[in-house]
């Protein structure tokens, strides 16, 4: 047998063995990344995404538009919302749109937004009805107090709990960071409200003197991600740190999350904010990022399209320009993967769709709606 025939024979014999070996590789090998589809372009600073039960999407643009998209991402309508005392500047404007759990029957939705003026503004929460692609019965049900000057650190994300109460995240107003520890106001807090804006009787500070009874947790800087995991009953949030010290927190009623006393971040000027990175009586973050990634949105994946992502947390990063996938083991993050870095885009929001696919809003004056599908 010639040398070339021997080589060909060996190769032919080895191919099935190579295929067999490849199929028996452990499943712990990293899965191939998701495929990215652009559904919509030309969105003006899109901020929050929700899914209409009839298919299609409802999303907010920070300048004050409520945008209706078809299931293929085509823009069907841009509606100027007429919210009481609406104020848009810098980080402020129309923030989250949250459809009530019974939206399909009631048409009820909730909008968080900035209200007031340049010198006296705050975060407001409105409830409204969505009928025939119009907002009706708009009612302001909550206004965080006190008002602040400047247009930064509003929070504004929302989630509905199984008991129908709403949890709304708020920021410290940037210049008022010490107020995040003051239980008498809403700066730097996460609040829990009934759907009419009233205070649930089982809120953790109800009945205490000189406190804001709406408070659910305190000691936050600027919370722009919150998700409730029905499977575990866990409520997760993340918040922007200053220069460093972005945090992932597991929220529990009445707990103090430390800002600005306990932080690993420093001021943008390089100055130290606090000598403490941890402090007695204040919860430590489950996970943190230094340097900052600027986390801006979050979902906890419980869909079926990506079995390998089951139970993972996905976080969109503005400064980090990536989708961070966190693998959890109970209450601990055991692995982190950065996805979509090739887009080089600031990412604002991430959601799990009813179809189990992952949807993302990019940030900016020409924002996009992206859909992630399995390869």
């Amino acid at each position: 047998m010639s040398l070339s025939r021997t080589l060909l024979f060996t190769l032919a014999l080895s191919l099935p063995l190579v295929a067999l070996a490849a199929s028996s590789l452990p499943s712990s090998l990293p899965p191939s990344g998701p495929k990215v589809q652009i559904l919509t372009e030309g969105l003006e600073y899109p901020w929050s995404l929700s899914f209409l039960p009839s298919g299609g999407f409802l999303l907010t643009e920070r300048s004050g538009q409520l945008v209706t998209l078809g299931s293929d991402g085509q823009v069907l309508q841009k509606l100027d919302v007429n919210l009481p005392e609406f104020y848009a500047a810098a980080q402020g404007g129309l923030l989250e749109v949250l459809l009530a759990d019974n939206f399909a029957q009631s048409g009820r939705l909730f909008l968080s937004y900035v209200c007031g003026t340049a010198n006296a503004n705050s975060v407001c929460l409105a409830s409204a009805s969505w009928q025939d692609n119009q907002l009706t019965d708009v009612k302001k049900i909550f206004r965080a107090t006190p008002d602040r000057r400047g247009a930064a650190h509003y929070g504004g994300r929302m989630v509905q709990l199984p008991d129908q109460s709403l949890v709304l995240t708020l920021g410290d107003g940037f210049d008022y960071r010490e107020q995040a520890q003051n239980k008498a106001n809403h700066l730097g807090k996460i609040v829990r409200l009934q759907q009419d804006g009233s205070v649930p009787a089982d809120n953790p500070l109800v009945g205490q003197a000189a406190v804001a009874a709406e408070i659910f947790t305190l000691g936050h800087r600027n919370v722009q991600g919150i998700v409730y995991d029905v499977a575990t009953g866990s409520l997760w949030s993340h918040e922007h740190g200053p220069k460093g010290g972005d945090e992932l927190n597991l929220l529990q009623a009445g707990v103090n999350y430390g800002w600005p006393v306990a932080t690993t971040g420093i001021d943008y000027t390089g100055a130290r904010i606090s000598p403490f990175t941890r402090f007695t009586g204040m919860a430590e973050p489950v996970y943190q990022w230094s340097p900052s990634i600027a986390p801006a949105g979050m979902t906890l994946y419980r869909g079926e399209a990506f079995p390998q992502y089951q139970g993972n947390i996905f976080i969109t990063a503005l400064a980090g320009k990536a989708l961070h996938r966190l693998v959890l083991d109970g209450d601990k993050v055991v692995e982190e993967e950065k996805l979509l870095t090739e887009l080089d885009s600031r990412l604002r929001d991430v959601r799990t769709g009813p179809d189990g696919l992952i949807y993302i809003l990019t940030d900016g004056p020409a924002g996009k709606l992206l859909r992630l599908t399995p390869q």
Binding site: A152, F174, P260, V261, T269, G270, I273, P275
Partner: protein, 145 residues
């Protein structure tokens, strides 16, 4: 050459004073939330800020002081004013104007934490103004007796 060295020293002193005042004000704000902070922690914070915040403040103060000293010279040539008060007031006003511009341009409402309150702002202006006075005083030619 001497004037340049004195000017740089003046900027350094003004920024160091500003940095230490901000450290103390920030620490006081944390003390109000936590109770007393150990001296070692306070010194560590002062030193941290001198290494990390002071250079930023010096970079802000340097052009302000330069402009203010030129402006002071022009004003003092045209008006009969006390030199030290004139340099102090002109530099303080320049610093105030510069902080307003910086805060307009910066993404956050107030870049320097000390600038968040009126008292803190006045202290910041005073640091820069005293730096300019220091330069004015020590940069003059002196006759040898």
């Amino acid at each position: 050459m001497r004037r340049i060295l004195v000017f740089l020293l003046a900027v350094l002193l003004a920024a160091s004073a500003g940095s230490m005042i901000q450290s103390l004000v920030n620490l006081q704000a944390i003390v109000a939330l936590t109770g007393p902070i150990a001296t070692a922690e306070q010194l560590s914070t002062l030193w941290f800020d001198l290494r990390h915040f002071m250079p930023v403040l010096a970079a802000i103060f340097l052009p302000i002081m330069l402009l203010s000293l030129v402006l002071s010279r022009i004003v003092l040539k045209r008006a009969t004013l006390g030199k030290v008060p004139a340099v102090f007031v002109i530099t303080a006003l320049s610093t105030w104007a510069a902080l307003l511009i910086i805060n307009q341009l910066a993404p956050m409402p107030t870049l320097i934490a000390l600038n968040r309150t009126l008292a803190g702002t006045l202290l910041l202006l005073s640091c820069c103004a005293l730096g300019a006075v220091f330069y004015h005083y020590f940069s003059r030619s002196r006759s040898v007796a």
